[in-house]
C-alpha cells in the first residue's frame, strides 16, 4: 500500500505542469564570464561549483529524499552552453507546443534574452557544430527527419551509468577528491601530457567539492526547518534528512536511506552539469540490496519504510524534466529523461541476482505509476518463477512496464562490442533498450536513420517525394529498372550514402564535444577516468564503445521491397512506372494498386517471403555501419531502437510501395508496421527473432499490444511468461507490451483530465498517455491488439 505522503507527492506530480527554472543557466553563465581564458574543463567545473554554492535550496512538503534543480517541484533547466538558439526561437511558445509543453513566463523569456543568451552567441556547441558540418551532410542531416542527431548538438550526451558499486559508494566524493589529489601529486606540470591530466583532476576536485557543498546546504536547510517544525514526526524526519546530507555524498553510505539519498545527489550533479538524457541508475537491486539487508538485520528499517523510500526516489526521478527542443521532443516524446533502472538478471559470477530490492522496484512502479525511472528487467532462462510472475503481473496492470530483456542476448551484445565476460554479464540498460555497462563511454543514440528515405531515393531519382529536392544520390528513372535485383542494388546504394552521412554527423559532433564540453562531474562517476586522468568525453572510460546508429523503418522498408518484387517483377500487376506514379500521387486514383500492395506479405507474420528481405537489410546495415570507426577508433554499432522517432521520420516520407500513405508514421524498432501483424504475437516474435539481434549491440526493440483479457488471470500471465521465454530462446533481446484496450485509450483522448496517470508504452519507454501529442496517441492506438497467443 502506498503511503499518504507518497500519494500526495504523486498527485502533485501527475497534476502539475513542468516549469522552467532559469537559475542554473544564470549561475552557469555568470561563472563563465569570470573564467574566460582558463582551460575549458576548469571553466565548466567552476560553473558547476558556483551553481552548487548558490542555487536556491528547496525541501518540498513531505519529502524524504531531497535535492532540487530549481525553485519548482516539477522542473526543467536550461543549458545555453549547448544551445540557446532553439530556446530563443521556441520559448515563447513553450506552453502551447503539441509535444511536451513547459511553463515559462514572459518575464523569464525577457530575462534570458537580455542577460543570458547574448553571452553565448557564437560560443555554443550548436553553433560550432553547424559551422563545421560539411554542407552535403548538413543538407540531409539538420532538422530534416532523414538523418537526425540534434540531441547530440542541441543537448548534452548523457548516456552514462554512474558506477555506484566500484566508484561512488566505496569512495564517496570525499574519497574522489583525495584520489584526485594523490594522482595530481604524482604528476609534473613540466610535462605537457601531465598538464592536461592535472587540469582534469582539478576539474574533478571542483565538481566533487561542489556536490558536497550542495548536500551540506541541504543539511543546513533541513536543520533550519527542523527548528521551526511543529509536527514532531516531521521534525524527526528533517533531522534524519540533515544527518543524511551531512554524510553523503561526501562519505560512503552506511544505510539504505543514505544510499538512496546518495543516488539522488549523483543524479542532481549530472543534471546540473549537463541536463543529460539517459543518466541511468543501472542495476539498482544489485548495489542497494546489501544496505537494505544490513539495515534489516540490525533492525534499523522496516520493509514498509524501505518501500516508501523507493517510492519517494521514483517520484524524484520523475519530477525533473528534460528540457528539449520541439524537434527533439518529437523523437523523445513524453517528458522522458530515460533514466533507466535495471533489476533482475545474472550476477557477475553467473548466479541469479534477484533479491528483495528487485521486487520493491517492481512494486514501486506499480504503486506510483511514475514514468521514471525507466524500469527494465533482465530475464534469464532459469530465472525464478516468482520473478517472472512479478514481471508479467506488472505487464498486466497496463503500465507498459517493465521493459523485458533477454539476459543472454544482452550479454552477447556486449561480448560482440568487446567487453570482458564478467563485465558483459553485469550489463544494465541505458536509455530505452541499449545494453550498457557502468564503466562505459558510449553515444547510445547517436543518429536516427530513416530507412524509408533509401527506398524513396532509389525509386525517385534520388529526390524527396514530398519536396522534389535532390537529397540522395542521383539515380536513373525507376521505369528503367528491369529486374528486382536492380531495384535492390539502387536501394542499398542510397542506403550506404545515408550511412556515410550518419557517420559524418557523429564524428563531427564527437570532436566538438571533446573540445568544448568536457564532463568532469560524470567523469568522476567512472573509475577508469580517474585512473587515467582522462575525461569521459576524451575516451577516459574503461570501455569506449562505438556510437549507435539507430535504424528507423525496417518493417516499412522490407514490406516495400517485397511489394516491388511481387507486384512489378513476379506477378506483373503493374509496371515500375505505374507504381512510381501511384507513389507520387499518394495512391490517389490508384486505390486498386494500393489494395494489391497491402495484400503482399508483410513483415511480422513469420512469412519468409518478406522476413528474409528484412534480415538482408538488417545484416547490410550492421556490416556497413560496423565498418566505420569513431574518433576513439571504436567501430560504430547498430540498433533498432524505438523512441518516438518513427513519427517524425514518417512525416517526411512520401507514400511507400508497401501501401503506406505519405506522412504516415514509419515503423519502430524491429516491430511490424502498425496493423500489419495480423497473425499472432508469436508470429511477430518469430519474424523479429530472425534478425540476428545479437549483433546489433545498440539494442533492438519489439512493441506488441495484447488484449487485457489475455493477461487478466494468473494463468494468462504465466502463459505470457512462457511466451517471453520462448521468444528469448530464439535469441531475441527485448519485448514490451501495451495491454490497454483501444476503448480505454480513446476514452483517455476524450477526457484527459480523468486519465492523467495512465501510463502507456511508447517505444522503449513508458510515459503518461495524456502527455503525448494527438498524432502519437493515434499511432499507439493503431497498433494491432492481439487477443490470443
Amino acid at each position: 500500500m502506498i503511503t499518504q505522503r507518497i500519494e500526495k507527492i504523486r498527485l502533485n506530480y501527475v497534476n502539475s505542469k513542468p516549469c522552467i527554472s532559469t537559475e542554473r543557466a544564470q549561475l552557469f553563465t555568470e561563472s563563465h564570464k569570470k573564467t574566460e581564458g582558463k582551460p575549458v574543463c576548469i571553466r565548466r567545473a567552476q560553473a558547476f561549483y558556483d551553481t552548487c554554492a548558490n542555487l536556491g535550496v528547496h525541501i518540498f512538503e513531505g519529502e524524504l529524499i531531497v535535492g532540487a534543480i530549481g525553485e519548482f517541484r516539477k522542473c526543467g533547466i536550461l543549458t545555453p552552453e549547448f544551445s540557446w538558439k532553439w530556446v530563443d526561437r521556441e520559448m515563447d511558445t513553450f506552453s502551447d507546443r503539441a509535444q511536451d509543453p513547459y511553463v515559462m513566463t514572459k518575464e523569464q523569456c525577457e530575462y534570458v534574452r537580455k542577460e543570458i543568451f547574448p553571452y553565448w552567441k557564437g560560443k555554443s556547441l550548436e553553433e560550432a557544430f553547424l559551422a563545421r558540418l560539411p554542407e552535403d551532410t548538413a543538407k540531409i542531416g539538420v532538422d530534416t527527419g532523414i538523418l537526425d542527431n540534434d540531441s547530440k548538438w542541441r543537448q548534452a550526451v548523457g548516456e552514462v551509468t554512474p558506477d555506484y558499486q566500484d566508484q561512488l559508494f566505496p569512495k564517496g566524493f570525499g574519497g574522489i577528491i583525495r584520489e584526485a589529489e594523490e594522482k595530481k601529486a604524482a604528476l609534473s606540470y613540466a610535462d605537457a601530457d601531465s598538464q592536461e591530466k592535472m587540469e582534469f583532476y582539478d576539474s574533478v576536485i571542483l565538481t566533487s567539492k561542489g556536490i558536497i557543498l550542495y548536500a551540506n546546504r541541504y543539511a543546513d536547510e533541513a536543520e533550519r526547518l527542523a527548528k521551526i517544525e511543529k509536527d514532531e514526526k516531521r521534525r524527526q524526519e528533517l533531522l534524519v534528512i540533515a544527518s543524511n546530507c551531512r554524510k553523503v555524498p561526501e562519505h560512503s553510505p552506511e544505510t539504505f536511506y543514505e544510499a538512496l539519498q546518495f543516488m539522488w545527489f549523483t543524479q542532481i550533479g549530472g543534471i546540473l552539469s549537463e541536463n543529460p538524457l539517459s543518466l541511468n541508475p543501472g542495476r539498482f537491486d544489485q548495489y542497494t540490496d546489501p544496505y537494505y539487508e544490513e539495515d534489516l538485520a540490525k533492525k534499523r528499517i522496516t520493509p514498509e519504510f524501505a518501500q516508501e523510500l523507493v517510492d519517494a526516489l521514483w517520484l524524484k526521478y520523475s519530477e525533473w524534466v528534460w528540457t528539449i527542443s520541439a524537434n527533439t521532443a518529437d523523437y523523445f516524446a513524453g517528458y522522458n529523461q530515460f533514466q533507466n533502472l535495471t533489476v533482475g538478471g545474472k550476477k557477475r559470477d553467473g548466479s541469479d541476482g534477484t533479491n528483495a530490492m528487485t521486487y520493491m522496484a517492481l512494486k514501486a512502479t506499480e504503486e506510483t505509476k511514475t514514468h521514471q525511472p525507466g524500469l527494465s528487467v533482465r530475464v534469464h532462462q532459469d530465472c525464478p518463477e516468482e520473478f517472472m510472475a512479478a514481471v508479467t503481473h506488472l505487464v498486466s496492470t497496463g503500465t507498459g512496464f517493465p521493459a523485458i530483456h533477454n539476459d543472454s542476448a544482452g550479454y552477447q551484445m556486449l561480448i560482440n562490442a568487446g567487453y570482458e565476460p564478467d563485465d558483459a554479464r553485469d550489463w544494465n540498460n541505458c536509455g530505452c533498450v541499449v545494453p550498457h555497462f557502468r564503466k562505459t563511454g558510449e553515444w547510445t543514440a547517436a543518429v536516427n536513420m530513416n530507412f524509408g528515405s533509401a527506398i524513396e531515393y532509389a525509386l525517385n531519382e534520388g529526390k524527396s517525394l514530398m519536396t522534389g529536392k535532390q537529397m540522395g544520390l542521383t539515380e536513373k528513372p525507376a521505369a528503367e529498372f528491369t529486374s528486382y535485383g536492380e531495384v535492390e542494388e539502387a536501394f542499398f546504394r542510397q542506403f550506404k550514402n545515408l550511412c556515410y552521412h550518419s557517420i559524418v554527423l557523429t564524428t563531427t559532433a564527437q570532436r566538438i564535444h571533446k573540445e568544448m564540453v568536457p564532463r568532469p562531474f560524470l567523469s568522476s562517476c567512472i573509475e577508469a577516468c580517474m585512473e587515467k586522468g582522462v575525461d569521459l568525453s576524451k575516451g577516459g572510460a574503461k570501455y569506449n564503445v562505438g556510437p549507435v546508429i539507430t535504424g528507423i523503418g525496417l518493417a516499412v522498408t522490407a514490406n516495400s521491397l517485397a511489394a516491388v518484387k511481387k507486384l512489378v517483377f513476379e506477378e506483373q500487376v503493374c509496371t515500375m512506372g505505374e507504381l512510381v506514379q501511384a507513389l507520387r500521387a499518394d495512391w490517389e486514383g490508384y486505390e486498386w494498386l494500393r489494395k494489391k500492395a497491402q495484400a503482399v506479405p508483410k513483415y511480422g507474420n513469420d512469412d519468409p517471403y518478406v522476413d528474409q528481405i528484412a534480415v538482408k537489410i538488417a545484416n547490410f546495415f550492421y556490416h556497413e555501419i560496423h565498418g566505420y570507426k569513431d574518433i576513439f577508433g571504436a567501430p560504430f554499432t547498430t540498433a533498432f531502437m524505438g523512441i518516438s522517432n518513427y513519427i517524425p521520420m514518417g512525416r517526411v516520407l512520401g507514400a511507400t510501395p508497401c501501401g503506406r500513405k505519405c506522412g504516415e508514421p514509419s515503423s519502430e524498432g524491429v516491430s511490424p508496421y502498425v496493423g500489419s501483424d495480423t497473425s499472432t504475437p508469436l508470429a511477430a516474435m518469430r519474424s523479429a527473432a530472425k534478425l540476428n539481434q545479437e549483433v546489433h549491440s545498440g539494442g533492438t526493440l519489439l512493441n506488441l499490444r495484447l488484449n487485457q483479457e489475455l493477461v487478466s488471470t494468473k494463468r494468462g500471465q504465466a502463459n505470457l511468461g512462457a511466451t517471453i521465454q520462448n521468444f528469448f530462446s530464439l535469441g531475441a533481446f527485448h519485448v514490451q507490451f501495451n495491454t490497454l484496450s483501444s476503448k480505454v485509450l480513446r476514452a483517455a483522448q476524450e477526457k484527459p483530465e480523468d486519465y492523467r496517470d495512465l501510463l502507456v508504452r511508447v517505444a522503449g519507454y513508458s510515459t503518461q498517455f495524456v502527455n503525448l501529442s494527438k498524432s502519437l496517441q493515434d499511432a499507439i492506438i493503431a497498433r494491432t491488439e492481439h487477443a490470443e497467443f
Binding site: P384, R715, Q725
Partner: protein
C-alpha cells in the same frame, strides 16, 4: 442435476502426503512430466505395484504445497517445447481432495499442463472443479463385471462407471486405461463389454492397454502383506462364474498377440488405442 458446489466451500489443504515426486516422467502424458504420487487409495487391487501407497497419513511422506512447488519449479524449464507438465497419480489422487485442489489451482495459475490418473472412485461433484483444470485425464476401467471387480479391487465398479460417463461430459481429452492381466481381466468378453460401454457413453475417449508387470512384488514381503499371488489363490477359492472368465494358474503378463487382438476389438467399436510408451 446435482448443484454445483461453491468454489469457496471446497476443501483446500496446504499440506498432504506424497509417496514420491517422479521427475522426468515420460509415460504419463505428453512430453516430460513430473508425476506426483499421492498416498492413499480407496481400492485394494491385488496386483497393485505400490502397495505401500494404500497406507495414508504416514508422517514420513508429509509435504507442504511449497515444498512440492520448489521441486516442480526446477523442472518447469523442461516442460516447455514438449508439451510436458504435471501428472497427479497415486494411490488415488482424489482421496486427498483438499491438497490436490490446492496443487491443481497453483499449478494451473502457473500455466503448467496438468493431467491426472484416477481409479474413478470418487464423489464427482466434489472433484469436478479439479478435473476441469486438467488437460488430460487417465481413467482406469479395470473390469466391467461388478462381481469380479469387487473380488479383485475390493469395491463395486458402479460408481466408477457412472463417474466415467460424467467425466466424458467435461470435454477434456480422456484416456481410459485397462491394466491387462491374464487371469483377471484379459478375456474377450471383458474387452467387448468395455468397448461397448465406451462407444455408448464416452465415444471420444481413447483406450490404453497397460500390460501387467510384476514390479514392486518384493514390497509385499517387506510390508508383511500377502503377495498378489497369494491373494489370487484365496480369490480362486471363491465360487465365481462369469461368462468368458476363467482363473489362470497365476496372474501373468499378456502376450503381444493378445494385446493386438484386443486392439482389433477396440477398432471394431471405432475406439482408438493409444500408448505413451
Amino acid at each position: 442435476m446435482p448443484k454445483k458446489i461453491q468454489s469457496s466451500a471446497l476443501l483446500r489443504e496446504e499440506t498432504g502426503y506424497v509417496m514420491q515426486l517422479q521427475n522426468f516422467s515420460v509415460n504419463d502424458g505428453e512430453g516430460i512430466r513430473t508425476t506426483i504420487f499421492l498416498c492413499g487409495c480407496p481400492l485394494h487391487c491385488i496386483w497393485c505395484c505400490n502397495p505401500e501407497n494404500m497406507a495414508y497419513r504416514d508422517k514420513a511422506h508429509k509435504m507442504t504445497l511449497q515444498e512440492v512447488e520448489a521441486v516442480v519449479s526446477r523442472q518447469a524449464l523442461f516442460f516447455r517445447r514438449c508439451d510436458g507438465g504435471i501428472t497427479f497419480s497415486g494411490g488415488e489422487a482424489t482421496i486427498q481432495q483438499g491438497f490436490l485442489r490446492s496443487m491443481t489451482e497453483r499449478f494451473y495459475d502457473k500455466g503448467y499442463k496438468l493431467s491426472i490418473e484416477t481409479c474413478g472412485y470418487f464423489n464427482f461433484e466434489q472433484v469436478r472443479d479439479i478435473l476441469e483444470k486438467m488437460d488430460l485425464i487417465f481413467f482406469d476401467l479395470k473390469l466391467m463385471d461388478d462381481r469380479l471387480h469387487q473380488s479383485f479391487t475390493g469395491v463395486s465398479n458402479q460408481i466408477i462407471k457412472e463417474n466415467l460417463k460424467k467425466v466424458g461430459q467435461l470435454g477434456i481429452p480422456l484416456v481410459v486405461r485397462i491394466p491387462v492381466i491374464v487371469g483377471v481381466n484379459a478375456f474377450e468378453n471383458n474387452i467387448h463389454a468395455t468397448c461397448s460401454f465406451l462407444q455408448k457413453y464416452v465415444p471420444e475417449a481413447k483406450l490404453e492397454f497397460l500390460p501387467y508387470h510384476k514390479l514392486g512384488m518384493d514390497k509385499y514381503e517387506k510390508l508383511g502383506m500377502p503377495t498378489p499371488d497369494e491373494q489370487y489363490e484365496s480369490i480362486r477359492k471363491e465360487d465365481i462364474a462369469v461368462s468368458g472368465f476363467s482363473f489362470a494358474a497365476r496372474m501373468t503378463t499378456p502376450s503381444e498377440e493378445l494385446l493386438s487382438a484386443f486392439s482389433d476389438i477396440a477398432r471394431a467399436y471405432h475406439i482408438d488405442t493409444i500408448s505413451f510408451r
